[in-house]
Symmetry: C2
Subunit: 103 residues, 2 copies
């Protein structure tokens, strides 16, 4: 009984760690904005720049960060680099956020 409770606390701890890391990657106004636009589908860096504002450098750095955290993947086609959301869970999260906070 006791050990089961304490196991699930340990497990909960692990899950909180990994979910908090994801939230941390999202919890910046511009990164959230980027994700919101990407939730509608793949976009190039230039398009995102136009939609989200901010300097070229910061956009690129934010995208890189989210890629490192496995929220995004990118693909170079010709002169452009296209980013998209990697994991359907992230897409679900963005939609949940929208549902909860934007209506």
């Amino acid at each position: 009984m006791k050990s089961q409770e304490s196991n699930s606390l340990v497990e909960m701890n692990e899950q909180c760690k990994s979910v908090a890391a994801i939230l941390k990657a999202i919890s910046h106004p511009q990164r959230l904005m980027l994700l919101c636009h990407l939730a509608e589908g793949e976009k190039s860096v230039g398009e995102l720049e136009g939609l989200c504002g901010g300097s070229q450098s910061s956009i690129s750095q934010f995208l890189k960060l989210m890629k490192l955290e496995n929220l995004l993947v990118s693909e170079k086609r010709g002169l452009y680099v296209y980013y998209r959301i990697h994991d359907s869970k992230i897409k679900k999260l963005v939609f949940s956020l929208h549902k909860i906070f934007c209506r």
Copy 2:
């Protein structure tokens, strides 16, 4: 047409700011853990300490931070201080996170 688009981008920007602030307040393993336990109902600081681990000081500071961000409210009754989630949106968010990432 154009002005409407740009209005909604401005609005989106505002929303991203405020949602990102909430996410930022949540995006730490221990703060998320605290919130998860509080999602089940009001708890005293001591109970949370037992459930979440960490030093007394850090727990108290994290709770204060989340209170400042209006995620929590507290009430002193006798010797104990009880915290609970202030806003049903936050409760919804915690449940969504659980649904998306913990099954």
